[in-house]
Amino acid sequence: MKMYLNGNTAVAHAVRLVKPGVVAAYPITPQTVIVEKIADFIANGELDAQYIKVESEHTAMAACYGASAAGARAFTATSSQGLAYMQEMLNYVSGVRVPVVMVVGNRALSGPWTIWLDHQDTIQARDTGWIQLYVENSQEALDTIIQAYKIAENPEILTPVMVCMDAFVLTHTEEVVDVPEAKAIDAFLPPYNPEFVLDANNPLTFSFGTPPALYMEFRVLQEQAMQRALGIIKEVAEDYGRTIGRYWPGLIEKYGPEDAEVVVVAMGSLCGTIKEVVDDLNYRGKKVALVRIRAYRPFPVTDICQALQGAKAVGVFDRDLSFGYAGALYTDVKAALYGNLNPAPRVLNYVGGLGGRDVRVEEIESIFLNLLGEQHMYQQEQSDVRFVGVRW
């Protein structure tokens, strides 16, 4: 059913459709509306779930950990400081392989105090062992949450998924969203029925102390599941397309001519704006394209190399910064190309849109022109980074 919804409400509908047993969440801007709406659904009998009104994000994730281990499908949502606060539990959840799904309204970290969009929060949680999927719009957010459970709960994966959606630009922006019918989702996503579960009739010990002789093997198994997820994410996206009728790129999306000379790589809602610029520049005879990363972890090295093959220059747009070096996506893309593409394109890093700074059409155009060698852009000495839209 087509509805006019903001991103948060679209997410809440996705949660209603996946029928979690337990929702545990703590309010934080910009995701609060998600859990308010879920509370509404429960209060009105549209969703039969237990909602734990927790006293912190740490508890939200701990409760999801416990609930999922006890065999209930668990959901939470958070953002920024909240994600940082629950980070300890993120590692437990992924390490013990309980398939929690979480939506993060991507928001910059304080201080200085801020509430606006960037990707620093989820980038900082990059190495917690969660699958990270970045969405471009609210429809994709809704569809991806449903897919996320199917990926996470796959017995070959058993890895939690973070669906990353931009603060305000998605969470607070209304647009038409097609909300699938409950029946269709029931057919797509079977009930959560894990092999390993806390059960008094079959006493298992989870997460036992592991000596050095064992720990590494568990990490390797975790990594193997991540690598398998590359295939599963694609499969699930296709399966969703077949069942629901809406297709999303599994790992990455290339937009623009196959033989583009320069390519910008980016994640999140900014990709929509970049597509507009790509169309415009293509129309003006410039061979430029966009590669949108949907799956950031696991990182789709092969797909990225394929998509960037033949490009002369690649600009990676980061809405985050690893202080003392460069943007995280940039370092990942660059590392992916080294030794895999010969000759490798030049890779430049553009960091912008931090703390909610709008990334304007003109700025994206400048990035493409800079990559084409047609426009100069200020770059700090001894740094890979070109800051976009900064007031010097």
Binding site: P203, L204, F206
Partner: protein, 95 residues
Amino acid sequence: MNLMSARITGFPKIPVVPGGTVLVKTGGWRTMRPVIDPEKCNNCLQCWIYCPDGTIEKGAKTVMINYDYCKGCGICSEECSHGAITMLREMGDEK
């Protein structure tokens, strides 16, 4: 379902093992050994309820000690109000 054994044959998929997978006998920790005098023991079970390791077994007339797991802490001997449990040196003393 034995997900894991001392020799890892099939490594578990995720860090979960069956409860009660006890493969190391803690009796080897002992330097002192509690010895029960069946004549003095009246089966009051004080030693049983106070053993941190659950190594005292209920018997028909007296309790018995599971030396495979008894760590020799001596609480049983201390708590026995009948003087029925003596702590002897693990090596050397007459049993």
